[in-house]
Symmetry: C2
Subunit: 473 residues, 2 copies
């Protein structure tokens, strides 16, 4: 299909009158970038359909005119997956929002892609259920983006990633075909499980329009502890003890290194419930069935860990307010932009046994390259997912490529993954071969070419379409 | 590639000398069929590689000569997925067996595709871990087949299907490329999650050679109850109460209708731990952390259900022997072939609220069509998965097409799936459109064509390769 921008915009204007389409200078500033800190790029237009059929129609029009498309949700992604590319039409899902159905018997919720995660969490709660997906951006991220990136977050250790919560999926293919796979059944082995291909492919194979989510029973009680430990070896002992002693109750196991702790209790000003300093900090949470049984069990398990010398000190929640205050320390990283200024953020994955060794190596290598480098370490260590925030205090803008090179070289040396949960987008694409083999990359490209032969959907992200001969964006 | 059987067999004989290849009359009888009761078909040859590279090499040779291939594992599948097709080479995984690694720190096990499930279960147990995948054929089914069919089984309600247990996957593509995706990390969002495409695609897109499985902590205690209930409404009330009261401890919720109960406690001779007869029977199991806490909790929960009038009668396990004896009643369906003779077996999925209504309708419609029809109903109702065994006592051989037509028409009327866990294979392929839309089928065919343009891998199963113009097998 030849690229035909003017007639594409004319066709879009006819199909999407009024505020359903912004073009030129009317494109809102928020649509020029996501949260990847890449330079702003103005899309040709922002189209805002309010129905699945509208999304499919917009995609069909763009495809007919050979115009590239980038899906945009809450724009909270950190890897550039929703960042506009030059000459694209941005497909905003913001008007395709709302909960269509809550089915208590099936324990499912049918939602539109543009619905913010927090709205979904609250609706489930009001219906007596629980949506375990939770991340810092809950107030502004949208479920379509969570699905497109296979978001992880705080409770993967118990409930899995977004993939495990999606029972059914509706999406527009790159040619505008709308695939209605809104299955509500827990088990359905009737042919290929197509939705798996679209979950986590960052809008490069299709655009999610609706989803059926699995709801869980609401936890009867929540207990948490913020622990100080004397070594990383004790962190591993505590994780093993928690898996054994709390089993499926264990709903979070978050680890913070002293450099992280120092920033959040220092510059950020989060209140530490622990006295003194420790070699490692762990926030662990257990969701139980009833406080009368699971509260004492949690307490006696913590006492056991203390007596075994695994924990040096611990604050134990006496109320949901305490649980929240422990999470406030962990969530204080949301203030890093304010207190540290521009920085690079990473979400690598590693074997748990090598996490501390990696942090030491990465910190030293960054310092070696940039003597004023600051890097702090924390994350969902129960899932093998380490977050790193890094910058060079000698430079106002962080040298993204230089820092990334050090971090990803170290990841490769340790046999890890360059992305555990945020995805590849634009920022990590140059490093994808550090984690995936040439054969895997070729297979990804083959799948991309089969579904998007024109290479029009989120071009230059994750993997290129070989047919178009495009190279790195 | 032109079909060139003779030179293909010559090349295979050169690459796989001795007992690694059987041809002609040397092909073992066991390789002529799976457990689908389809008429036996002799493959041209059975090749038995003992390494992943050997599998890839065998595939490459067949692909070069345009010879179709069918992967064979334990041959316990019920849908015909591993049944030979005319003119094919059977790729047996039986010599690619064994456990390569157990990593206690990562809680993973790396296994070869031909390893029987029971061997894997026992190895995990000996290492202090638990593999939740469990099904009746555990002694003979192989993990490669479990993955290829995304097997369900007894504990999906707590642990999910096979898909949820696979962290990494190695497989040969239809051209013989070996994709090494043996990831051991819980979270890895680096590009498309390719393995998802091969899990559950029944050997039509690739042949699984090795896998990394996620192990779980070993349960500290197991409690079970076999309950008699007065109505299906009470079954739904019991399921809701179990989800609330046992939460993530609930590890099985199996339902048996009176027709099933009558056969297993009658012809099969299983010992019923309940007095008298009931409208419905439920086997429920809870895996706890420690007997001192979770035993009394289970008992008090059961007492609550009894006092609320949900349960009419219940036998409650006092020992692991009791738990096993309850499962013996549920597993007695393995004797159906002996006591009922040839029959049709189904594994449909339905919204739980409509299960009983469906059973009534299906039973009546079968009787209407065949006055001597016998059909019995049971299954993993906690997962929305109903098993049906049906036959016509007026005929020595069950009229497969006639019975299937009635069952699947009823499934379609009730908005269910024709396969919850066994897969499509050959037997259910004519009915796939009852559960999947035309657009979904077209997308499946497009993916098949992209990965297997010659249509050589398990041809005629699940979905056809459009490029070859093949139609129904």
């Amino acid at each position: 299909m030849p690229l035909d921008t003017a007639s594409c915009l004319a066709a879009l204007a006819e199909a999407f009158p009024g505020a359903a389409l912004f073009t030129g200078d009317d494109v809102p500033a928020r649509n020029l970038h996501d949260t990847s800190f890449l330079p702003a790029v103005a899309p040709l237009a922002v189209v805002r359909p309010d129905s699945p059929e509208g999304v499919a129609e917009a995609v069909r029009i763009c495809a007919e005119h050979g115009v590239p498309m980038v899906a945009q949700g809450g724009l909270t992604g950190l890897a550039g997956g929703a960042h506009p590319v030059a000459g694209c039409v941005a497909m905003s899902l913001e008007r395709l929002a709302g909960i269509e159905e809550i089915d208590p018997a099936a324990a499912t919720m049918t939602v539109r892609a543009g619905t913010p995660l927090e709205v979904i969490q609250k609706a489930a709660d009001e219906a007596g259920f629980f949506i375990p997906l939770d991340l810092g951006a809950r107030g502004s991220c949208q479920i379509g983006g969570n699905i497109g990136t296979n978001a992880g977050g705080n409770r993967v250790i118990r409930y899995g990633m977004t993939r495990e919560m999606v029972l059914g999926l509706e999406y527009a293919l790159p040619d505008g075909t709308l695939i209605d796979g809104l299955n509500k059944m827990l088990k359905n082995n009737a042919g290929y499980d197509l939705k798996q291909l679209f979950i986590g492919s960052e809008g490069t194979l299709g655009i999610v329009t609706r989803a059926v989510l699995r709801m869980h029973p609401k936890p009867g009680c929540v207990n948490a502890a913020l622990c100080g430990l004397s070594s990383y070896e004790d962190v591993l002992r505590l994780l093993a003890a928690a898996r054994r002693g709390l089993g499926p109750m264990l709903s979070a196991f978050e680890v913070m290194w002293p450099d992280y702790w120092q920033v959040v209790t220092g510059e950020v000003g989060a209140r530490s419930p622990l006295e003194g300093t420790h070699a490692m900090y762990v926030l662990l949470e257990a969701q139980g069935l009833d406080e009368d049984i699971d509260g004492p069990r949690f307490m006696s398990w913590i006492e056991g860990a203390f007596e075994a010398g695994i924990i040096a000190d611990a604050a134990i929640s006496q109320s949901l307010g305490d649980v929240q205050s422990f999470w406030d320390v962990r969530d204080a990283c949301a203030e890093f932009q304010t207190v540290l200024g521009p920085h690079c953020a990473f979400d690598i994955g590693l074997p748990q046994t090598r996490m501390n060794e990696f942090a030491d190596a990465c910190r030293a290598r960054l310092k070696e390259d940039m003597p004023e480098a600051l890097s702090v370490y924390y994350g969902h260590i129960g899932d093998g997912n380490l977050h790193i925030v890094a910058l060079d205090r000698a430079q106002a803008q962080p040298p993204m490529k230089r820092i990334s090179a050090v971090v990803y070289d170290t990841v490769r040396d340790f046999g890890g993954t360059i992305s555990a949960e945020h995805g590849i987008g634009l920022l990590k694409k140059p490093y994808l071969s550090y984690t995936r083999s040439e054969k895997e990359l070729a297979l990804m490209a083959r799948i991309k070419a089969a579904l998007d032969p024109q290479g029009l959907l989120n071009p230059g992200k994750v993997i290129d379409t070989p047919a178009t001969g495009k190279t790195d964006a």
